[in-house]
C-alpha cells in the first residue's frame, strides 16, 4: 500500500530505540491506594467538585460537574472515601481543585450505568451527549473536550473521520498497545462517531514502524463499511493533527482554522476506545493507558485509574533504575516536565518518562550559525531562526508577522539545532504573550462597546 506523509519534519533516529523497552509489553492493570483527581483536566472551563470530605464514592460517580459547553464532568476512578477536596499546585498552571480518594478495593461501580446498545443501532442523536457525559477529552495529549470537537458550526461539512494511531512521539507505546489489544473497541468508537455525524469515511492512520498494529487494525476494520487503515511513513510529527490531515487527505487546514474547515475530524485511538466504552457499556472515562519508561527498573504499559500518583506508578515499575534528573508527561519532543513525583496523572497523560541526570542536563545556548537545519525541519514552513531573533528581542509584533502563531510547538527545529538554541521555548513564550495581548484587546473592545450601548 502507498505510504503517505507530509513535507519536511524530522527523523529522531538516535531515539528510535526509545520505544523498544515497552512496545512488546502487554498492558497491565494497576490500582493504587489512593488517587488525586483534579478538576482542570480539559482545555476550557474546569469542572466544579460536587463531593465533600468524608463522602463514599463509587467508580464512575460524578465528582465534578461540567461548567458550560467547553467543559466535561469528572468521575471517580476508584471506589472509596473522599479524604480531601483542596487546591493543589499543578504543572505551573497555578492551583487547581483536586479530590483525593482513598481506595476501599471493593471496585464497586455506580449502579446507574446507561449503555446505549451496539454501535450499529445506537440513536445518532444520543452519541454526542453521551460522549460529553462520559467526560471524554482528547486522549492524545491535548485534552480538548471531544463533544466540542464533534459539534460543528452552522454549514460545516465533515466527510472524513481520521483516527490518529501515528504515535510519532518518542518513548510512548500506549496507543500502539491499545491498537494491538483493543482494536475492535477503537473501530467501534470510530463507527459510533461516523453514525452520529453521518460520515461515510473513517480512516485509521498508523506509522509504518508499527506493522503489528497495522495488521491488528486491518483485521478489526475488515468488513466494516467505510472504515480502512492508512499506512504512513514514520516521521515526526506525523501525528500532529494538521500534518496527519495533509498526509491522509492532501488537504490543508487553513491558518487559524480548525480541522473541520478542511472537512475532517481527527480523533486519537484512545479517544475512540473511550467513546466505544461510553456507548456500549455506558462507562465514563475513568482509566487510561500510560507508558512508564526511561530510568525505571521494569518499563511497562499500565492501565491506571485517572489521578494515579506518579510515585505509585514508578513503584509499580520496580522503582527508579538510576537517580532521576527529570520526569515528564508525554514523549520527549513535547512532554511536560513535572516538579515532583507526587504529581497526579490526568486524562491526557499518555506517558511518564524518567531521564537520568546526564540526559536531563540543561544545554547552553550558543550563537546561531545559520546552518538552515531549523528551516529544513519546520513542518509548517516557518523561519525559526528569524522568529527566535524577534522573540529574544521581545519584539512580538515582528514575531507575529513571521507567523509565530502558526507554530505548533512540535520542537523539530529545537531538536535539530546544532547551537542548541532554545527555539521552541521562545516560541511558546511569544505565543502566550501574543494570545494574552489579543485577549486583553478583545476585552477592551467589548468593554468599550458595552459602554457605548448604555
Amino acid at each position: 500500500m502507498l505510504k503517505k506523509t507530509f513535507k519536511r519534519g524530522i527523523h529522531p533516529k538516535q531515539h528510535r530505540g526509545s520505544k523498544r523497552p515497552t512496545q512488546d509489553a502487554p498492558i497491565e492493570n494497576y490500582v493504587s491506594d489512593s488517587v488525586v483527581i483534579h478538576m482542570a483536566m480539559n482545555i476550557g472551563t474546569p469542572a466544579t467538585p460536587c463531593v465533600k470530605k468524608g463522602d463514599q464514592v463509587k467508580i464512575g460517580q460524578v465528582i465534578g460537574t461540567a461548567n458550560g459547553f467547553m467543559s466535561v464532568p469528572v468521575h471517580a476512578s476508584i471506589s472509596g472515601e473522599v479524604t480531601a477536596v483542596e487546591p493543589i499546585p499543578y504543572l505551573g498552571e497555578g492551583n487547581v481543585t483536586a479530590v483525593t480518594i482513598k481506595n476501599d478495593f471493593y471496585d464497586t461501580w455506580v449502579d446507574d450505568l446507561k449503555p446505549l446498545g451496539s454501535v450499529e443501532n445506537v440513536d445518532p442523536a444520543l452519541v454526542i451527549p453521551a460522549i460529553r457525559d462520559a467526560g471524554i477529552t482528547g486522549m492524545g495529549g491535548a485534552s480538548f473536550p471531544t463533544h466540542v470537537k464533534l459539534t460543528f458550526k452552522e454549514g460545516a461539512v465533515c466527510d472524513t473521520i481520521i483516527v490518529n494511531g501515528a504515535e510519532c512521539e518518542t518513548h510512548l507505546t500506549a496507543d500502539h498497545r491499545l491498537m494491538l489489544e483493543n482494536s475492535v473497541r477503537i473501530v467501534d468508537g470510530l463507527r459510533a462517531v461516523m453514525r452520529a455525524l453521518n460520515v461515510e469515511k473513517g480512516i485509521i492512520a498508523i506509522e509504518d514502524n508499527k506493522p503489528d498494529a497495522i495488521a491488528a487494525m486491518e483485521r478489526a476494520a475488515f468488513g466494516r463499511v467505510g472504515v480502512r487503515v492508512q499506512v504512513l511513513k514514520a516521521k515526526y510529527p506525523q501525528g500532529g493533527e494538521k500534518q496527519l490531515i495533509t498526509a491522509v487527505t492532501g488537504r490543508q487546514v487553513p491558518a487559524g482554522k480548525l480541522p473541520i474547515d478542511a472537512h475532517v475530524v481527527v480523533l486519537n485511538v484512545g479517544t475512540c476506545a473511550a467513546i466505544a466504552d461510553a456507548i456500549i457499556d455506558g462507562k465514563p472515562l475513568v482509566s487510561r493507558i500510560c507508558t512508564v519508561t526511561g530510568c525505571v527498573k521494569e518499563p511497562k504499559n499500565l492501565r491506571i485509574p485517572i489521578g494515579t500518583i506518579v510515585e505509585d506508578m514508578i513503584g509499580a515499575c520496580g522503582g527508579f533504575s538510576e537517580e532521576p534528573g527529570k520526569i515528564f508527561f508525554g514523549g520527549a519532543m513535547t512532554g511536560i516536565a513535572i516538579p515532583n513525583i507526587q504529581t497526579p496523572t490526568a486524562k491526557s497523560t499518555n506517558g511518564v518518562v524518567v531521564f537520568n541526570e546526564k540526559d536531563a542536563k540543561s544545554l547552553d545556548e550558543s550563537a546561531c550559525i545559520r546552518c538552515g537545519r531549523c528551516v529544513a525541519a519546520c513542518p509548517v514552513g516557518l523561519n525559526p531562526y528569524k522568529i527566535k531573533v524577534a522573540a529574544d528581542a521581545s519584539d512580538f509584533a515582528a514575531a507575529e508577522k513571521l507567523h509565530v502563531m502558526d507554530c505548533m510547538l512540535c520542537g523539530s527545529c529545537a531538536y535539530m539545532c546544532p547551537a542548541r538554541r532554545w527555539l521552541t521555548p521562545s516560541f511558546r513564550f511569544a505565543k502566550d504573550k501574543i494570545t494574552a495581548e489579543r485577549r486583553a484587546a478583545a476585552r477592551k473592545a467589548a468593554a468599550e462597546k458595552g459602554g457605548n450601548d448604555k
Binding site: R251, K326, M333, F355, S366, G381, Y415
Partner: protein
C-alpha cells in the same frame, strides 16, 4: 530528589556546532595532506602559522571583550586552515599572520563573532591580501612532490592556459596550497555530503553555473567552448571555493532555493570576471559579492507556509 523543570523538546540531535566544524576539518584533511605533500615544508609552516594565529586572535578577543571563550567550537581553526590553503606555498609567513588576524578580528569578531559576520572571514582576508600584496599572492610555485627539483615560480595556469586538463585534475600544476588537487577536494566534498554537513545545492549549482556561463561566453571566442568550460571549472579556485568557501553556513542563504540562486550568482560573477574582467580569477569576489546578497535572498524569497494555500488547491 531534585527534578529539573524545562520545556520540550527534551532530546536533541547529536550534531552540535563543534561537531560540524570537526566534520569540515575532516573534509579539509585530504586537500591539506596533498598540499603539504606537494609543496613540502613551507606549506606545512604556513598552515601551522595561519591556524595558530586564527585561534590566538579569537582567544585574545574573547578574553579582552569579556565574552565566553568559545575557541573549542573549532570555528577559528577552520577559518585559519581555509585561509592557509588559499595561499601560495612560498608566501611569506607574515602574510598568513596578517590574513588570519584580519579574518578573525575584523571580519568575524568586530561584527559580533560566529554567526554574525556577513562575509566569509577567510574569503574577505584573501581579498585584502590579494589587493595589498598582489605579487606575493599570485606568484605560484609548481608542486615538487619532494622530488628534489628546485621549486620554480610560475604564473597561474589561468593566465597562460598551458596546463592540461588531467594535470589540473590531479594537481600537478602551480597553484594555492589547497587548490591544486581536485581529487582531494572531491574526497572532501564526499565527506561533507556523507556527514550531512552540507547539501549538494551550493557546490553543484556553483560548479554547474561556472560551466554553463563559461560555455556561453566561450561560444564566440574559443575554438572548443566545451573544453574551455571544463577547463574553467577545474582551474583556479572554483572547486575549492564551491566545496569549502561558498558553503560557509553563516554567509549563505537558509533555504535550498535561496542557496541555488546564491550559488548560480557566484558562477555568473566568476565567469564574467574571468572572461571580461582585468583579473584572471574571480572566485573570491564572486563569493564575497553573493555573501552580501545573502540577506536580500533570505528576506525576499517567499516561503510556502502551511495553511495559506489558495482555496481548492491540493497540497
Amino acid at each position: 530528589m531534585n527534578l529539573r523543570i524545562s520545556t520540550a523538546p527534551h532530546i536533541h540531535h547529536p550534531v552540535t556546532t563543534k561537531r560540524l566544524m570537526i566534520y569540515v576539518l575532516l573534509a579539509l584533511l585530504p586537500a591539506t595532506g596533498v598540499g603539504i605533500y606537494a609543496f613540502g615544508l613551507p606549506a606545512l609552516l604556513l598552515i601551522a602559522i595561519s591556524c595558530l594565529t586564527a585561534v590566538l586572535c579569537e582567544l585574545i578577543w574573547q578574553k579582552a571583550a569579556k565574552k565566553p571563550v568559545r575557541i573549542s567550537d573549532c570555528s577559528a581553526l577552520v577559518t585559519g586552515l581555509i585561509l592557509a590553503l588559499n595561499l601560495p606555498a612560498n608566501a611569506p609567513w607574515w602574510l598568513a599572520v596578517i590574513g588570519s588576524a584580519f579574518a578573525i578580528l575584523l571580519v568575524k569578531q568586530l561584527f559580533g563573532g560566529l554567526g554574525d559576520n556577513f562575509l566569509n572571514p577567510a574569503m574577505a582576508a584573501r581579498a585584502v591580501l590579494l589587493a595589498s600584496w598582489p605579487v606575493h599572492m599570485t606568484r605560484y610555485v609548481a608542486p615538487t612532490f619532494f622530488s628534489g627539483v628546485d621549486a620554480v615560480t610560475a604564473a597561474t595556469p589561468l593566465s597562460t592556459k598551458s596546463a592540461e586538463l588531467m594535470d589540473l585534475f590531479l594537481g600537478t600544476i602551480p597553484g594555492c596550497i589547497g587548490e591544486v588537487s581536485k581529487v582531494a577536494i572531491l574526497v572532501g566534498l564526499l565527506i561533507l555530503l556523507f556527514t550531512r554537513t552540507v547539501t549538494w545545492h551550493i557546490p553543484f549549482t556553483m560548479v554547474a553555473s561556472v560551466f554553463v556561463f563559461s560555455f556561453l561566453f566561450g561560444l564566440g571566442n574559443e575554438e572548443e567552448p566545451l573544453m574551455f568550460a571544463l577547463y574553467s571549472i577545474l582551474s583556479g579556485g572554483v572547486l575549492f571555493g564551491a566545496v569549502f568557501m561558498a558553503t560557509d553556513y553563516v554567509t549563505t542563504p537558509m533555504t535550498p532555493v535561496g542557496q541555488m540562486i546564491y550559488a548560480a550568482g557566484i558562477g555568473l560573477i566568476v565567469a564574467v570576471i574571468r572572461n571580461f574582467g582585468a583579473y584572471p580569477e574571480g572566485v573570491t569576489y564572486g563569493i564575497l559579492l553573493m555573501n552580501i546578497a545573502t540577506p536580500l535572498i533570505d528576506r525576499f524569497l517567499p516561503r510556502k507556509i502551511y495553511g495559506y494555500q489558495k482555496e481548492g488547491k491540493k497540497a
